[in-house]
C-alpha cells in the first residue's frame, strides 16, 4: 500500500481508524495513484491557511483504504499556490478542488475545470474567505456575471434552466438540462447557493461548542454530523467516551436513518403519483419525531450528541416506547412494502429509471445508500464498526440494480435493519455515565471523525487553536461524491422522470455548499 510506504505516518487517536502523514508534492501524486490502484476512494479534500504556523498553506486529502482513513497533508507555498490535481484519478475531487480555489486561493495543477464553484460573485475574485487576512464582516458588493455552462450543440437541442428556486419545498440549486424533445442529453448542476461560510464560521467557536454548528451543516443528518464532529474533537483531545454515551449515539443515528428513510419512501411514492404512500409514511415519520421530542427533547435530535458523550439519556419507559414504535413501524412498513411491490404503476416508474451501473458507480466514486443500490457494498458500520456497532453485526444492504427501484429496495432493507438495531440497542444499553469532562486542547492538535449517516459517509476534521478555540474545522458531506453521479443517472431519461430520480438519491445542498 502506497500510504504505508510513506516515511512518517502517525496514527491518530480516537474512534475512527485513521493515520496522518505529511507528504511532498511527488508523494501526494504517488499516494493518489497507489490508493486508486488498490481500489481505495477519496473521502474529503480541503485546505487550511497555516502560514502563521508552518509558513505555508496546507491542502489535505482523506482517503478510505482497507486499513481505514489515510489523511495526507501537503504544504503549499504562498509564492506558488498550486498542488497536483487529483480529479484525473478521483472524479469527486473536481468540485472540491474548485471549492478550495474559491475559499483559499490554492489551484489544482492540471485540473480540467477551473470555474468558480462556491463563489457566485458575492466576494471578490482575489479574496479568499479562509485566509487569515480576510475580514468576513467587511461590506461587499456582489458582482454577478454569467456562468459558462457547457453547451450541447446539435439539431433540435435546447436547454431547460431550472432553479435555483425549485418547484417544491426543496433546497435551492440550478440544473441546466440539454434536451431533445423530452429526452435528456446532458444535465449540468450548478450548486453553491446555500453557501453559509460554515468553514470560516467554525473559527468563532471552541472545540466544546462547535458541535452545534456541525449539526446544522445538513439538518436531515444532524446526528451523523454531530457524531462525526464529536469523534474529531475527541480524537484531537485524545479522550474516550463512556460506553453508554456511544450506545445512545448509535440509537440516535439509527432513529435518524429510520426517520429519513420513512420520509423518502413516502416522497418517492408521491413523486410517482401515489399520494397514499406519502400520507402513510409521513404519519409514521411524525410518530418517530414526536417520540424523539418526548425522549430526547428535540424532534430531530439536534445538539444531543456532544463532544465527551451524549446530552440525553433514556429512562426505562422511554426504552419501552422506542421498542414498541419500532415493532409497529416494522409491521406497518412490511405491509406498505407489499403494496409498493404489487403496484404496477409504481413499479413501472421505478424500474430502469435513473440507472447507475455498478461499473459506473465504482468509476465515479458513488457512496452511501445510493452506492449500495449500485453494488458498492460499503458501510462504515460494518466495515469499521465502532461501539455500539461492534456488538450488533450490522447487515449491509445492497442491490446491483442501480435504478430508482434499487434505491427504494435498499431503503426498505436499511429501514428494517435499523429497526432491528434500535431494538437491540434499547435492550442492551450499558449502564454508567453518559458524558465526560473535556480536557484543554493542545494548540495544533488534529483529529478526525467518520460516520455512516443515512445518506453516506460524513467526515469531520478539526485542528485546535489557542484557548480551546477551533483553528480550522472542515465538515464533509457525502453529497459531494454523489451529486456528479446524478448528472449521469439522468442521461437518456425523460425530463418528467428527473424529480423522481433526483429524489431517489435525495442529496443535500446545504451540506456540500457549506
Amino acid at each position: 500500500m502506497a500510504i504505508a510506504a510513506l516515511s512518517v505516518v502517525k496514527p491518530l487517536a480516537g474512534e475512527a481508524p485513521a493515520a496522518f502523514a505529511r507528504v511532498t508534492p511527488a508523494q501526494w501524486a504517488e499516494a493518489a495513484r497507489g490508493v486508486h490502484e488498490a481500489g481505495g476512494r477519496i473521502v474529503a479534500l480541503w485546505g487550511a491557511d497555516r502560514r502563521d504556523a508552518t509558513g505555508a498553506f496546507s491542502v489535505y486529502a482523506a482517503y478510505a483504504t482497507p486499513d481505514g482513513l489515510a489523511v495526507l497533508d501537503l504544504h503549499v507555498p504562498e509564492a506558488n499556490p498550486v498542488y497536483p490535481d487529483l480529479s484525473g484519478l478521483f472524479t469527486p475531487a473536481a468540485r472540491m478542488q474548485r471549492a478550495i480555489r474559491d475559499l483559499l486561493g490554492l489551484a489544482a495543477d492540471g485540473a480540467d475545470d477551473d470555474r468558480p464553484w462556491l463563489r457566485h460573485g458575492t466576494w471578490g475574485e482575489d479574496e479568499y474567505p479562509l485566509r487569515r487576512e480576510f475580514d468576513p464582516a467587511a461590506p461587499r458588493e456582489a458582482v454577478r456575471g454569467p456562468y459558462p455552462f457547457v453547451r450541447v450543440e446539435g439539431e433540435g437541442v435546447h436547454e431547460i434552466p431550472v432553479g435555483p428556486i425549485h418547484a417544491g419545498i426543496i433546497e435551492p440549486g440550478h440544473f441546466r438540462f440539454s434536451v431533445v424533445g423530452e429526452k435528456v442529453l446532458r444535465l449540468e448542476e450548478r450548486l453553491g447557493y446555500t453557501h453559509k461560510g460554515i468553514d470560516r464560521r467554525f473559527q468563532d467557536f471552541t472545540l466544546a461548542e462547535g458541535y452545534r454548528l456541525a449539526g446544522r451543516c445538513s439538518g436531515d443528518s444532524t446526528v451523523a454530523y454531530a457524531w462525526a464532529y464529536a469523534q474529531a474533537a475527541e480524537s484531537a483531545l485524545a479522550i474516550v467516551v463512556p460506553p453508554r454515551a456511544r450506545w445512545l449515539r448509535g440509537l440516535m443515528l439509527e432513529i435518524e436513518r429510520i426517520a429519513n428513510h420513512l420520509n423518502d419512501l413516502g416522497a418517492l411514492g408521491n413523486d410517482a403519483a401515489f399520494g397514499f404512500a406519502l400520507a402513510q409514511f409521513s404519519r409514521l415519520r411524525e410518530d418517530w419525531l414526536r417520540l424523539c421530542d418526548a425522549v430526547f427533547g428535540h424532534r430531530l435530535m439536534m445538539d444531543r450528541v456532544v463532544p465527551g458523550g451524549a446530552a440525553a439519556d433514556l429512562r426505562a419507559d422511554a426504552r419501552r416506547a422506542i421498542a414498541a414504535l419500532a415493532q409497529r413501524t416494522e409491521a406497518e412498513s412490511r405491509a406498505l412494502q407489499d403494496i409498493f411491490d404489487e403496484h404496477s404503476g409504481l413499479q413501472d416508474r421505478f424500474i430502469t429509471a435513473g440507472r447507475v451501473t455498478p461499473e459506473l458507480a465504482r468509476a465515479l466514486g458513488l457512496v452511501g445508500l445510493a452506492g449500495r443500490a449500485s453494488g458498492q457494498r460499503l458501510d462504515l458500520r460494518a466495515d469499521f464498526p465502532v461501539a455500539p456497532y461492534d456488538a450488533l453485526a450490522v447487515k449491509k444492504a445492497g442491490h446491483p440494480g442501480g435504478d430508482v427501484a434499487a434505491r427504494v429496495r435498499v431503503r426498505y432493507q436499511e429501514l428494517f435493519e435499523s429497526l432491528r438495531l434500535v431494538g437491540e440497542i434499547v435492550d442492551g444499553l450499558p449502564d454508567g455515565e453518559t458524558r465526560v469532562e473535556l480536557p484543554d486542547a493542545r494548540p495544533g492538535a488534529f483529529g478526525v471523525g467518520w460516520i455512516e449517516g443515512w445518506r453516506g459517509e460524513v467526515f469531520v476534521a478539526i485542528e485546535a487553536g489557542e484557548a480551546n478555540r477551533i483553528r480550522r474545522a472542515h465538515a464533509h458531506d457525502p453529497s459531494w461524491q454523489n451529486w456528479p453521479v446524478v448528472e449521469h443517472a439522468i442521461m437518456g431519461n425523460i425530463v418528467p422522470d428527473f424529480p423522481l430520480i433526483n429524489k431517489s438519491f435525495n442529496l443535500s445542498y446545504s451540506g456540500p455548499d457549506g
Partner: protein, 173 residues
C-alpha cells in the same frame, strides 16, 4: 387495491385541531385590510423559498402537510410559482448567493405579499449570523410580517406562524 383501502380505513383520520395565532411573533403591524383577508378567505397559497437553510426547516414545513397537521385541510396549500402565492415562507439566514433569487421571487408575487420568516436563521441569521456569505435574516432583505422562532420550529409552530399572518387578533380571517 383492497390492501390500500383497508389500510386507509384502519388508519382513520388522525388530523388534530389547528392552533390559535401568536401575536408576539408579529414583526410589523398588519397592513392587510380586512377586505383582502376576506378575499383570501380560506384559500391561502404559499410559495416556500429556502434561502440557505440547513434543510431542517424544510423537513418541518413538509411535516405540516402530514395527516396530523393537514395544512391543506385548512384551505392552505403550497404553490410552485410565486405568481400564484399570497405568502412567501422563507427559511435560512439568506445566503448572499440566494439574495437575488429571493428578491426576484418577492417581486413576482401579487399583493398582499405576506412574508413569514421561519426559524432562528430566518429571524436573525441564527447560528450562522451575518458574514461574507449570509445576510443575517430575512428582514435584512424583505419586509417580514411574522417571524417564527425555533431551530427548527416544530410543525405546530409553523402552522401557528402562518395562521398568525392571516388571522386577526380575534381569530377571524
Amino acid at each position: 387495491m383492497i390492501p390500500i383501502l383497508l389500510k386507509v380505513l384502519r388508519t382513520g383520520i388522525v388530523t388534530e385541531p389547528a392552533p390559535a395565532p401568536r401575536e408576539d411573533w408579529r414583526v410589523r403591524a398588519s397592513q392587510i385590510q380586512d377586505e383582502i383577508l376576506r378575499l383570501l378567505g380560506r384559500a391561502l397559497v404559499i410559495r416556500e423559498v429556502d434561502a440557505g437553510s440547513c434543510n431542517g426547516c424544510e423537513l418541518e414545513i413538509h411535516a405540516v402537510n402530514n395527516p396530523y397537521y393537514n395544512l391543506e385541510g385548512l384551505g392552505i396549500r403550497f404553490a410552485a410559482s410565486p405568481r400564484h402565492a399570497d405568502m412567501l415562507l422563507v427559511t435560512g439566514p439568506v445566503t448572499r448567493n440566494m439574495e437575488q433569487a429571493l428578491r426576484i421571487a418577492y417581486e413576482a408575487m401579487p399583493a398582499p405579499k405576506l412574508v413569514v420568516a421561519v426559524g432562528d436563521c430566518g429571524r436573525d441569521g441564527g447560528i450562522f449570523g451575518a458574514c461574507y456569505a449570509t445576510c443575517g435574516g430575512v428582514s435584512k432583505v424583505l419586509p417580514v410580517d411574522v417571524a417564527i422562532p425555533g431551530c427548527p420550529p416544530a410543525p405546530i409552530d409553523i402552522l401557528q406562524g402562518i395562521l398568525t399572518a392571516v388571522l386577526r387578533k380575534d381569530g377571524r380571517r
